[in-house]
Protein backbone atom coordinates (compact mmCIF):
# COMPACT_ATOMS: atom_id res chain seq x y z
CA UNK A 1 0.00 0.00 0.00
CA UNK A 2 2.97 2.32 0.01
CA UNK A 3 4.48 4.28 -2.80
CA UNK A 4 7.15 6.45 -1.36
CA UNK A 5 10.81 7.01 -1.72
CA UNK A 6 11.25 9.60 0.95
CA UNK A 7 11.69 8.52 4.48
CA UNK A 8 9.62 11.48 5.61
CA UNK A 9 6.53 10.54 3.66
CA UNK A 10 4.26 7.57 4.04
CA UNK A 11 1.34 7.74 1.75
CA UNK A 12 -1.26 5.16 0.99
CA UNK A 13 -2.18 4.21 -2.53
CA UNK A 14 -3.38 1.42 -4.72
CA UNK A 15 -0.88 -1.41 -5.06
CA UNK A 16 1.43 -1.20 -8.05
CA UNK A 17 2.15 -4.43 -9.81
CA UNK A 18 4.75 -5.13 -12.45
CA UNK A 19 2.29 -5.47 -15.36
CA UNK A 20 -0.76 -3.57 -16.59
CA UNK A 21 -3.44 -3.15 -13.99
CA UNK A 22 -6.86 -4.52 -15.01
CA UNK A 23 -9.17 -1.64 -15.88
CA UNK A 24 -6.43 0.95 -16.18
CA UNK A 25 -6.40 2.92 -19.43
CA UNK A 26 -2.90 4.17 -18.86
CA UNK A 27 -0.22 2.05 -17.23
CA UNK A 28 3.31 3.28 -16.60
CA UNK A 29 5.86 0.94 -15.10
CA UNK A 30 9.38 1.66 -13.84
CA UNK A 31 9.69 4.61 -16.21
CA UNK A 32 13.10 6.20 -16.56
CA UNK A 33 13.80 9.23 -18.71
CA UNK A 34 16.94 11.25 -19.27
CA UNK A 35 17.79 13.82 -21.89
CA UNK A 36 21.05 12.83 -23.55
CA UNK A 37 23.72 12.00 -21.05
CA UNK A 38 22.07 14.12 -18.37
CA UNK A 39 20.70 12.90 -15.06
CA UNK A 40 17.45 10.99 -14.83
CA UNK A 41 14.48 13.31 -15.12
CA UNK A 42 12.11 10.50 -14.22
CA UNK A 43 13.34 7.63 -12.13
CA UNK A 44 11.26 4.47 -11.68
CA UNK A 45 7.84 6.06 -12.01
CA UNK A 46 4.75 3.85 -11.79
CA UNK A 47 1.33 5.19 -12.64
CA UNK A 48 -2.14 3.87 -13.42
CA UNK A 49 -5.01 5.97 -14.71
CA UNK A 50 -8.54 4.60 -14.50
CA UNK A 51 -11.67 5.57 -16.43
CA UNK A 52 -13.64 8.42 -14.91
CA UNK A 53 -11.05 9.61 -12.40
CA UNK A 54 -9.35 12.97 -12.17
CA UNK A 55 -5.78 12.65 -11.02
CA UNK A 56 -3.80 15.68 -9.90
CA UNK A 57 -0.07 15.57 -10.60
CA UNK A 58 1.93 17.64 -8.15
CA UNK A 59 5.57 18.57 -7.77
CA UNK A 60 7.85 21.56 -7.91
CA UNK A 61 9.36 22.89 -11.12
CA UNK A 62 11.84 20.40 -12.50
CA UNK A 63 10.28 17.50 -10.63
CA UNK A 64 9.38 15.78 -13.91
CA UNK A 65 5.65 16.52 -14.23
CA UNK A 66 5.79 17.84 -17.78
CA UNK A 67 8.20 15.10 -18.82
CA UNK A 68 5.81 12.47 -17.50
CA UNK A 69 3.01 14.06 -19.53
CA UNK A 70 5.23 14.11 -22.61
CA UNK A 71 6.06 10.44 -22.11
CA UNK A 72 2.39 9.54 -22.30
CA UNK A 73 2.25 10.94 -25.84
CA UNK A 74 5.67 9.81 -27.03
CA UNK A 75 7.21 13.28 -27.04
CA UNK A 76 9.91 12.46 -24.48
CA UNK A 77 12.79 10.01 -24.89
CA UNK A 78 12.04 6.97 -22.73
CA UNK A 79 15.24 5.38 -21.43
CA UNK A 80 13.61 2.33 -19.90
CA UNK A 81 10.32 1.07 -18.55
CA UNK A 82 6.95 0.70 -20.20
CA UNK A 83 4.11 3.08 -21.06
CA UNK A 84 0.82 1.59 -22.16
CA UNK A 85 -2.05 3.75 -23.35
CA UNK A 86 -5.28 1.94 -24.16
CA UNK A 87 -3.37 -1.32 -24.28
CA UNK A 88 -0.75 -0.12 -26.77
CA UNK A 89 2.87 -0.18 -25.70
CA UNK A 90 4.05 3.27 -26.65
CA UNK A 91 7.77 2.57 -26.69
CA UNK A 92 7.44 0.06 -29.53
CA UNK A 93 5.12 2.07 -31.78
CA UNK A 94 6.15 3.22 -35.23
CA UNK A 95 5.82 6.87 -36.17
CA UNK A 96 2.48 6.45 -37.98
CA UNK A 97 1.00 4.44 -35.11
CA UNK A 98 2.34 6.99 -32.68
CA UNK A 99 0.28 9.63 -34.50
CA UNK A 100 -2.78 7.39 -34.07
CA UNK A 101 -2.04 7.13 -30.38
CA UNK A 102 -1.53 10.88 -29.99
CA UNK A 103 -4.89 11.40 -31.65
CA UNK A 104 -6.48 9.35 -28.85
CA UNK A 105 -4.90 11.45 -26.10
CA UNK A 106 -6.45 14.88 -25.61
CA UNK A 107 -4.02 17.50 -24.38
CA UNK A 108 -4.66 20.82 -22.70
CA UNK A 109 -1.77 23.23 -22.34
CA UNK A 110 -0.90 26.02 -19.94
CA UNK A 111 -0.76 28.61 -22.72
CA UNK A 112 -3.82 27.14 -24.50
CA UNK A 113 -1.85 26.80 -27.78
CA UNK A 114 -4.77 27.93 -29.91
CA UNK A 115 -4.18 29.38 -33.35
CA UNK A 116 -5.15 32.95 -32.54
CA UNK A 117 -6.08 34.03 -36.04
CA UNK A 118 -8.36 31.06 -36.68
CA UNK A 119 -11.97 31.09 -35.54
CA UNK A 120 -12.96 29.36 -32.33
CA UNK A 121 -14.87 26.76 -34.37
CA UNK A 122 -11.87 25.98 -36.60
CA UNK A 123 -9.65 25.66 -33.56
CA UNK A 124 -12.01 23.05 -32.15
CA UNK A 125 -12.20 21.31 -35.52
CA UNK A 126 -8.43 20.89 -35.58
CA UNK A 127 -9.00 18.26 -32.90
CA UNK A 128 -10.48 16.11 -35.68
CA UNK A 129 -7.55 16.54 -38.07
CA UNK A 130 -6.30 13.02 -37.60
CA UNK A 131 -9.50 11.52 -39.02
CA UNK A 132 -10.61 14.46 -41.15
CA UNK A 133 -10.41 12.49 -44.41
CA UNK A 134 -9.84 13.71 -47.99
CA UNK A 135 -12.08 16.76 -47.61
CA UNK A 136 -9.45 18.25 -45.36
CA UNK A 137 -6.94 18.36 -48.20
CA UNK A 138 -8.83 21.45 -49.38
CA UNK A 139 -9.27 22.78 -45.88
CA UNK A 140 -12.72 21.34 -45.19
CA UNK A 141 -14.32 19.33 -42.41
CA UNK A 142 -17.38 17.10 -42.65
CA UNK A 143 -20.77 18.31 -41.50
CA UNK A 144 -20.69 15.65 -38.79
CA UNK A 145 -17.43 17.06 -37.46
CA UNK A 146 -18.81 20.59 -37.58
CA UNK A 147 -21.96 19.54 -35.71
CA UNK A 148 -19.86 17.80 -33.06
CA UNK A 149 -17.59 20.84 -32.72
CA UNK A 150 -20.62 23.05 -32.11
CA UNK A 151 -21.99 20.57 -29.57
CA UNK A 152 -18.67 20.64 -27.73
CA UNK A 153 -18.65 24.42 -27.77
CA UNK A 154 -22.13 24.24 -26.26
CA UNK A 155 -20.78 21.88 -23.64
CA UNK A 156 -17.96 24.20 -22.60
CA UNK A 157 -20.36 27.15 -22.76
CA UNK A 158 -18.80 29.17 -25.52
CA UNK A 159 -20.80 28.34 -28.66
CA UNK A 160 -21.82 32.01 -29.03
CA UNK A 161 -18.17 32.81 -29.80
CA UNK A 162 -17.82 30.17 -32.53
CA UNK A 163 -17.07 32.61 -35.34
CA UNK A 164 -14.71 35.02 -33.59
CA UNK A 165 -10.94 34.75 -33.73
CA UNK A 166 -9.57 32.77 -30.80
CA UNK A 167 -7.11 35.53 -29.93
CA UNK A 168 -9.96 37.85 -28.98
CA UNK A 169 -11.09 35.61 -26.10
CA UNK A 170 -10.12 35.86 -22.45
CA UNK A 171 -7.72 33.31 -20.95
CA UNK A 172 -10.53 31.29 -19.37
CA UNK A 173 -12.50 31.25 -22.61
CA UNK A 174 -9.43 30.19 -24.58
CA UNK A 175 -8.82 27.32 -22.19
CA UNK A 176 -12.42 26.19 -22.69
CA UNK A 177 -11.86 26.20 -26.43
CA UNK A 178 -8.68 24.17 -25.90
CA UNK A 179 -10.66 21.65 -23.83
CA UNK A 180 -13.28 21.43 -26.59
CA UNK A 181 -10.47 20.82 -29.09
CA UNK A 182 -9.14 18.00 -26.92
CA UNK A 183 -12.64 16.48 -26.68
CA UNK A 184 -12.99 16.76 -30.47
CA UNK A 185 -10.32 14.07 -30.64
CA UNK A 186 -12.74 11.66 -28.90
CA UNK A 187 -9.90 11.04 -26.47
CA UNK A 188 -9.46 7.96 -24.33
CA UNK A 189 -7.49 10.01 -21.84
CA UNK A 190 -7.01 13.74 -21.27
CA UNK A 191 -3.72 15.26 -20.13
CA UNK A 192 -3.79 18.82 -18.85
CA UNK A 193 -0.37 20.35 -18.22
CA UNK A 194 -0.81 23.20 -15.75
CA UNK A 195 -4.07 24.24 -17.39
CA UNK A 196 -4.88 26.94 -14.85
CA UNK A 197 -1.44 28.45 -14.34
CA UNK A 198 -2.39 31.44 -16.51
CA UNK A 199 -5.88 31.91 -15.08
CA UNK A 200 -7.34 33.81 -12.16
CA UNK A 201 -8.69 31.79 -9.20
CA UNK A 202 -12.32 31.93 -10.31
CA UNK A 203 -11.46 30.76 -13.81
CA UNK A 204 -9.16 28.11 -12.36
CA UNK A 205 -12.03 26.56 -10.39
CA UNK A 206 -14.32 26.73 -13.43
CA UNK A 207 -11.81 25.01 -15.73
CA UNK A 208 -10.95 22.31 -13.20
CA UNK A 209 -14.66 21.71 -12.52
CA UNK A 210 -15.14 21.26 -16.24
CA UNK A 211 -12.27 18.79 -16.53
CA UNK A 212 -13.58 16.74 -13.62
CA UNK A 213 -17.07 16.77 -15.09
CA UNK A 214 -15.65 15.50 -18.40
CA UNK A 215 -13.83 12.69 -16.63
CA UNK A 216 -16.99 11.56 -14.88
CA UNK A 217 -19.47 11.99 -17.72
CA UNK A 218 -17.26 10.59 -20.47
CA UNK A 219 -15.67 7.91 -18.32
CA UNK A 220 -12.13 8.86 -19.27
CA UNK A 221 -9.17 9.52 -17.00
CA UNK A 222 -7.99 13.12 -16.72
CA UNK A 223 -4.45 13.77 -15.50
CA UNK A 224 -3.96 17.38 -14.42
CA UNK A 225 -0.65 18.83 -13.33
CA UNK A 226 -1.06 21.63 -10.82
CA UNK A 227 1.01 23.86 -8.61
CA UNK A 228 -1.66 24.97 -6.16
CA UNK A 229 -2.38 22.40 -3.44
CA UNK A 230 -5.86 23.62 -2.51
CA UNK A 231 -6.95 23.30 -6.12
CA UNK A 232 -5.55 19.78 -6.29
CA UNK A 233 -7.25 18.82 -3.03
CA UNK A 234 -10.57 20.24 -4.18
CA UNK A 235 -10.69 19.08 -7.79
CA UNK A 236 -9.16 15.61 -7.91
CA UNK A 237 -10.03 12.07 -6.97
CA UNK A 238 -6.42 11.05 -6.55
CA UNK A 239 -3.12 12.83 -6.18
CA UNK A 240 0.25 11.68 -7.42
CA UNK A 241 3.34 13.64 -6.53
CA UNK A 242 6.83 13.79 -7.98
CA UNK A 243 10.02 15.03 -6.47
CA UNK A 244 13.32 14.92 -8.31
CA UNK A 245 11.77 12.53 -10.85
CA UNK A 246 10.61 10.00 -8.28
CA UNK A 247 7.02 9.39 -7.34
CA UNK A 248 6.63 10.06 -3.64
CA UNK A 249 2.89 10.27 -3.37
CA UNK A 250 0.05 8.34 -4.91
CA UNK A 251 -3.12 8.24 -2.88
CA UNK A 252 -6.81 9.12 -2.92
CA UNK A 253 -7.28 12.82 -2.37
CA UNK A 254 -9.58 12.15 0.56
CA UNK A 255 -6.63 10.63 2.42
CA UNK A 256 -4.37 13.65 1.93
CA UNK A 257 -3.98 17.18 3.16
CA UNK A 258 -1.52 20.01 2.61
CA UNK A 259 0.76 18.89 5.44
CA UNK A 260 1.14 15.41 4.02
CA UNK A 261 2.01 16.86 0.61
CA UNK A 262 4.68 19.16 2.04
CA UNK A 263 7.24 16.45 1.29
CA UNK A 264 6.95 17.28 -2.42
CA UNK A 265 8.24 20.79 -1.83
CA UNK A 266 10.73 20.10 0.93
CA UNK A 267 13.56 21.62 -1.12
CA UNK A 268 12.30 25.10 -0.41
CA UNK A 269 11.53 26.08 -3.97
CA UNK A 270 9.40 29.03 -4.97
CA UNK A 271 6.58 26.71 -5.93
CA UNK A 272 6.22 25.55 -2.37
CA UNK A 273 5.23 29.07 -1.38
CA UNK A 274 2.82 29.33 -4.27
CA UNK A 275 1.39 25.94 -3.55
CA UNK A 276 0.18 26.96 -0.14
CA UNK A 277 -1.50 30.13 -1.26
Amino acid sequence: MTVTAASTSTTTSSPVTSGPTPGALVTVRDLQVSYGAGPLVLDGVDLDLYPGETVALLGSSGSGKSTLMRCLTGFAPISSGTVQVSGHELTSLRRSRLRDLRASVGQVFQQFNLVGRLSVLTNVLTGALHRAGPINAVGGFTSADRRRAMELLDRVGIAHKATVQARTLSGGQQQRVAIARALMQRPQVVLADEPVASLDPKMSHAVLDLLRQIAREDGIPVLVSLHVLPLALEHSDRIVGLRHGRMLVSAPTADLDADRLEVLYADGTEEADGAHR
Binding site: R99, A103, S104, Q107, G116, L118, T126, A132
Partner: protein
Protein backbone atom coordinates in the same frame (compact mmCIF):
# COMPACT_ATOMS: atom_id res chain seq x y z
CA UNK B 1 11.70 26.90 7.18
CA UNK B 2 10.02 30.34 7.35
CA UNK B 3 9.18 31.77 3.94
CA UNK B 4 11.22 34.96 4.39
CA UNK B 5 14.31 32.99 5.36
CA UNK B 6 13.80 30.63 2.43
CA UNK B 7 13.58 33.56 -0.01
CA UNK B 8 16.74 35.11 1.47
CA UNK B 9 18.64 31.84 1.06
CA UNK B 10 17.49 31.35 -2.49
CA UNK B 11 18.29 34.95 -3.32
CA UNK B 12 21.81 34.76 -1.94
CA UNK B 13 22.49 31.76 -4.16
CA UNK B 14 21.41 33.54 -7.33
CA UNK B 15 22.25 37.19 -6.58
CA UNK B 16 24.15 39.41 -9.00
CA UNK B 17 27.66 40.32 -8.02
CA UNK B 18 27.95 43.66 -6.26
CA UNK B 19 29.68 45.50 -9.15
CA UNK B 20 27.05 44.47 -11.69
CA UNK B 21 24.26 45.42 -9.31
CA UNK B 22 25.83 48.83 -8.68
CA UNK B 23 26.17 49.38 -12.43
CA UNK B 24 22.49 48.61 -13.00
CA UNK B 25 21.40 50.95 -10.22
CA UNK B 26 23.31 54.01 -11.50
CA UNK B 27 21.17 56.76 -13.09
CA UNK B 28 23.31 56.73 -16.22
CA UNK B 29 24.66 53.35 -17.13
CA UNK B 30 28.29 53.32 -18.22
CA UNK B 31 28.47 51.52 -21.58
CA UNK B 32 30.13 48.14 -21.56
CA UNK B 33 33.65 47.77 -22.88
CA UNK B 34 32.48 45.85 -25.95
CA UNK B 35 30.20 48.77 -26.88
CA UNK B 36 33.01 51.32 -26.35
CA UNK B 37 35.25 49.20 -28.57
CA UNK B 38 32.57 48.40 -31.13
CA UNK B 39 31.60 51.97 -31.97
CA UNK B 40 35.11 53.06 -33.12
CA UNK B 41 35.45 49.84 -35.11
CA UNK B 42 32.11 50.48 -36.84
CA UNK B 43 33.11 54.09 -37.57
CA UNK B 44 36.46 52.96 -38.96
CA UNK B 45 34.71 50.52 -41.31
CA UNK B 46 32.34 53.27 -42.44
CA UNK B 47 35.25 55.67 -43.12
CA UNK B 48 37.16 52.95 -44.99
CA UNK B 49 34.10 52.30 -47.16
CA UNK B 50 33.54 55.99 -47.90
CA UNK B 51 37.15 56.52 -48.95
CA UNK B 52 37.16 53.36 -51.05
CA UNK B 53 33.95 54.36 -52.80
CA UNK B 54 35.09 57.96 -53.49
CA UNK B 55 32.34 59.36 -51.33
CA UNK B 56 32.87 63.12 -51.42
CA UNK B 57 30.28 65.59 -50.11
CA UNK B 58 32.29 68.55 -51.47
CA UNK B 59 32.08 67.11 -54.96
CA UNK B 60 28.32 66.82 -54.58
CA UNK B 61 28.21 70.52 -53.64
CA UNK B 62 30.26 71.47 -56.67
CA UNK B 63 27.97 69.46 -58.94
CA UNK B 64 24.78 70.90 -57.45
CA UNK B 65 24.64 73.53 -60.19
CA UNK B 66 24.63 70.86 -62.90
CA UNK B 67 22.03 68.90 -61.01
CA UNK B 68 19.87 72.00 -60.74
CA UNK B 69 20.31 72.56 -64.47
CA UNK B 70 19.21 68.98 -65.18
CA UNK B 71 16.15 69.34 -62.97
CA UNK B 72 15.26 72.67 -64.60
CA UNK B 73 15.25 71.04 -68.01
CA UNK B 74 12.71 68.47 -66.76
CA UNK B 75 10.11 71.22 -66.52
CA UNK B 76 7.62 71.69 -67.88
CA UNK B 77 6.70 68.08 -68.49
CA UNK B 78 5.41 67.25 -71.93
CA UNK B 79 2.14 65.37 -71.99
CA UNK B 80 2.04 64.94 -75.77
CA UNK B 81 2.66 61.21 -75.55
CA UNK B 82 0.52 60.57 -72.50
CA UNK B 83 -1.27 57.71 -74.26
CA UNK B 84 2.09 55.96 -74.86
CA UNK B 85 3.13 56.50 -71.25
CA UNK B 86 -0.17 55.14 -69.92
CA UNK B 87 0.01 52.09 -72.21
CA UNK B 88 3.58 51.36 -71.10
CA UNK B 89 2.71 51.91 -67.45
CA UNK B 90 -0.22 49.52 -67.73
CA UNK B 91 2.13 46.96 -69.28
CA UNK B 92 4.58 47.56 -66.41
CA UNK B 93 1.78 47.04 -63.89
CA UNK B 94 0.67 43.86 -65.65
CA UNK B 95 4.24 42.56 -65.65
CA UNK B 96 4.55 43.33 -61.95
CA UNK B 97 1.24 41.64 -61.13
CA UNK B 98 2.06 38.43 -63.00
CA UNK B 99 5.70 38.40 -61.84
CA UNK B 100 4.72 39.02 -58.23
CA UNK B 101 1.98 36.39 -58.12
CA UNK B 102 4.17 33.76 -59.75
CA UNK B 103 7.12 34.83 -57.63
CA UNK B 104 5.10 34.73 -54.41
CA UNK B 105 3.66 31.28 -55.19
CA UNK B 106 7.07 29.83 -56.10
CA UNK B 107 8.60 31.54 -53.08
CA UNK B 108 5.96 29.97 -50.84
CA UNK B 109 6.85 26.49 -52.02
CA UNK B 110 10.55 27.24 -51.76
CA UNK B 111 9.97 28.62 -48.25
CA UNK B 112 8.36 25.37 -47.11
CA UNK B 113 11.64 23.71 -47.99
CA UNK B 114 13.76 26.48 -46.51
CA UNK B 115 12.03 26.71 -43.11
CA UNK B 116 13.96 24.73 -40.52
CA UNK B 117 10.84 24.03 -38.45
CA UNK B 118 9.10 22.42 -41.43
CA UNK B 119 11.63 20.82 -43.75
CA UNK B 120 14.12 18.05 -43.02
CA UNK B 121 17.81 18.91 -43.38
CA UNK B 122 18.21 17.26 -46.78
CA UNK B 123 15.55 19.61 -48.19
CA UNK B 124 16.38 22.66 -46.09
CA UNK B 125 19.99 23.15 -47.17
CA UNK B 126 19.50 22.78 -50.96
CA UNK B 127 16.57 25.23 -50.79
CA UNK B 128 18.62 27.76 -48.84
CA UNK B 129 21.58 27.42 -51.21
CA UNK B 130 19.35 27.82 -54.26
CA UNK B 131 17.87 31.02 -52.83
CA UNK B 132 21.33 32.33 -51.96
CA UNK B 133 22.50 31.80 -55.56
CA UNK B 134 19.42 33.50 -57.00
CA UNK B 135 19.71 36.39 -54.57
CA UNK B 136 23.35 37.00 -55.43
CA UNK B 137 22.46 37.67 -59.09
CA UNK B 138 20.89 41.02 -60.07
CA UNK B 139 17.50 40.93 -61.81
CA UNK B 140 19.12 42.56 -64.83
CA UNK B 141 21.21 39.44 -65.37
CA UNK B 142 18.06 37.31 -65.32
CA UNK B 143 16.41 39.79 -67.70
CA UNK B 144 19.28 39.51 -70.19
CA UNK B 145 19.21 35.74 -69.84
CA UNK B 146 15.48 35.52 -70.53
CA UNK B 147 15.61 38.11 -73.34
CA UNK B 148 18.10 35.83 -75.06
CA UNK B 149 15.82 32.86 -74.38
CA UNK B 150 12.34 34.20 -75.27
CA UNK B 151 13.18 37.43 -77.10
CA UNK B 152 12.49 41.07 -76.32
CA UNK B 153 9.29 41.98 -74.55
CA UNK B 154 7.43 41.81 -71.26
CA UNK B 155 7.46 37.99 -71.06
CA UNK B 156 11.21 38.04 -70.48
CA UNK B 157 10.69 40.70 -67.81
CA UNK B 158 8.03 38.63 -66.06
CA UNK B 159 10.32 35.59 -65.98
CA UNK B 160 13.19 37.68 -64.61
CA UNK B 161 10.95 39.14 -61.92
CA UNK B 162 9.58 35.73 -60.97
CA UNK B 163 12.99 34.13 -60.54
CA UNK B 164 14.40 37.17 -58.77
CA UNK B 165 11.47 37.12 -56.35
CA UNK B 166 12.21 33.57 -55.24
CA UNK B 167 15.65 34.61 -54.04
CA UNK B 168 14.50 37.61 -52.08
CA UNK B 169 11.01 36.92 -50.86
CA UNK B 170 11.49 33.16 -50.48
CA UNK B 171 14.00 33.85 -47.72
CA UNK B 172 11.72 36.18 -45.79
CA UNK B 173 8.79 33.81 -46.26
CA UNK B 174 10.87 31.00 -44.75
CA UNK B 175 11.92 33.21 -41.86
CA UNK B 176 8.31 34.25 -41.24
CA UNK B 177 7.39 30.58 -40.99
CA UNK B 178 10.30 29.85 -38.68
CA UNK B 179 9.31 32.65 -36.32
CA UNK B 180 5.76 31.45 -35.61
CA UNK B 181 4.72 30.61 -32.07
CA UNK B 182 5.55 26.96 -31.44
CA UNK B 183 2.56 26.43 -29.12
CA UNK B 184 -0.09 25.92 -31.83
CA UNK B 185 2.37 23.76 -33.79
CA UNK B 186 2.84 21.57 -30.72
CA UNK B 187 -0.94 21.40 -30.32
CA UNK B 188 -1.36 20.25 -33.93
CA UNK B 189 1.27 17.54 -33.46
CA UNK B 190 -0.48 16.55 -30.24
CA UNK B 191 -3.79 15.92 -31.99
CA UNK B 192 -2.03 13.57 -34.42
CA UNK B 193 -2.01 15.94 -37.40
CA UNK B 194 0.10 15.09 -40.43
CA UNK B 195 3.00 17.31 -41.45
CA UNK B 196 0.85 18.95 -44.12
CA UNK B 197 -1.89 19.61 -41.57
CA UNK B 198 0.58 21.04 -39.07
CA UNK B 199 1.75 23.52 -41.71
CA UNK B 200 -1.79 24.25 -42.90
CA UNK B 201 -3.32 24.83 -39.48
CA UNK B 202 -0.38 25.57 -37.21
CA UNK B 203 2.09 27.55 -39.33
CA UNK B 204 0.32 29.28 -42.22
CA UNK B 205 -2.45 30.98 -40.21
CA UNK B 206 0.20 32.50 -37.97
CA UNK B 207 2.60 33.48 -40.74
CA UNK B 208 -0.19 34.52 -43.12
CA UNK B 209 -0.28 38.26 -42.37
CA UNK B 210 3.49 38.52 -42.74
CA UNK B 211 3.42 36.53 -45.98
CA UNK B 212 0.77 38.83 -47.45
CA UNK B 213 2.64 41.89 -46.23
CA UNK B 214 5.89 40.70 -47.82
CA UNK B 215 4.04 39.84 -51.04
CA UNK B 216 2.73 43.39 -51.23
CA UNK B 217 6.24 44.66 -50.64
CA UNK B 218 7.42 42.38 -53.43
CA UNK B 219 4.75 43.80 -55.74
CA UNK B 220 5.80 47.38 -54.94
CA UNK B 221 9.41 46.46 -55.59
CA UNK B 222 8.52 44.71 -58.83
CA UNK B 223 6.65 47.77 -60.15
CA UNK B 224 9.80 49.82 -59.59
CA UNK B 225 11.97 46.98 -60.85
CA UNK B 226 9.95 46.66 -64.04
CA UNK B 227 10.94 50.18 -65.00
CA UNK B 228 14.59 49.10 -64.93
CA UNK B 229 14.07 45.77 -66.71
CA UNK B 230 12.65 47.67 -69.69
CA UNK B 231 16.09 49.19 -70.22
CA UNK B 232 17.39 45.84 -71.46
CA UNK B 233 14.35 45.23 -73.62
CA UNK B 234 12.39 43.20 -71.11
CA UNK B 235 9.18 45.22 -71.56
CA UNK B 236 7.49 47.91 -69.52
CA UNK B 237 8.01 51.66 -69.20
CA UNK B 238 11.79 51.28 -68.82
CA UNK B 239 12.42 51.22 -72.56
CA UNK B 240 10.43 54.43 -73.05
CA UNK B 241 12.33 56.01 -70.14
CA UNK B 242 15.72 55.03 -71.56
CA UNK B 243 14.77 56.26 -75.03
CA UNK B 244 13.63 59.63 -73.67
CA UNK B 245 16.95 60.03 -71.81
CA UNK B 246 19.01 59.09 -74.84
CA UNK B 247 17.03 61.51 -77.03
CA UNK B 248 17.37 64.33 -74.44
CA UNK B 249 13.56 64.55 -74.53
CA UNK B 250 13.41 66.02 -71.02
CA UNK B 251 9.75 67.01 -71.14
CA UNK B 252 8.73 63.46 -72.01
CA UNK B 253 11.17 62.05 -69.47
CA UNK B 254 9.64 64.30 -66.82
CA UNK B 255 6.11 63.13 -67.69
CA UNK B 256 7.22 59.48 -67.47
CA UNK B 257 8.85 60.04 -64.07
CA UNK B 258 5.78 61.85 -62.74
CA UNK B 259 3.53 59.01 -63.93
CA UNK B 260 5.78 56.41 -62.30
CA UNK B 261 5.74 58.36 -59.05
CA UNK B 262 1.94 58.54 -59.14
CA UNK B 263 1.61 54.80 -59.85
CA UNK B 264 4.07 53.80 -57.14
CA UNK B 265 2.42 56.13 -54.61
CA UNK B 266 -1.05 54.76 -55.36
CA UNK B 267 0.21 51.18 -55.01
CA UNK B 268 2.05 52.05 -51.82
CA UNK B 269 -1.07 53.58 -50.28
CA UNK B 270 -3.27 50.68 -51.37
CA UNK B 271 -0.74 48.21 -49.91
CA UNK B 272 -0.72 50.11 -46.64
CA UNK B 273 -4.51 49.90 -46.41
CA UNK B 274 -4.44 46.14 -47.10
CA UNK B 275 -1.66 45.62 -44.56
CA UNK B 276 -3.64 47.45 -41.91
CA UNK B 277 -6.66 45.27 -42.61
CA UNK B 278 -4.82 41.98 -42.30
CA UNK B 279 -2.60 42.65 -39.29
Amino acid sequence: MPTAERIRREHSATALDAAERARLERAFTVPRARFLLGVPVALAILYWSMVGADFDVAKLGEGAVNMGDFLTRLFPPSWDKLDVIVAQLVETLQMAIVGSVLGAVLSLFMAFGAASNIAPGWVYYPCRWTMNVIRSLPDLVFALMFVSAVGLGPFAGILAMTVGSVGSIGKVFAEAMESVDTGPVTAMEAVGASRRQVVQYGVLPQAGPLLVSYSLLLFEGNVRGATILGMVGAGGIGLELTTAMKMYDYGHLSAIVICIIVLVTVIDQASAVIRRKIT
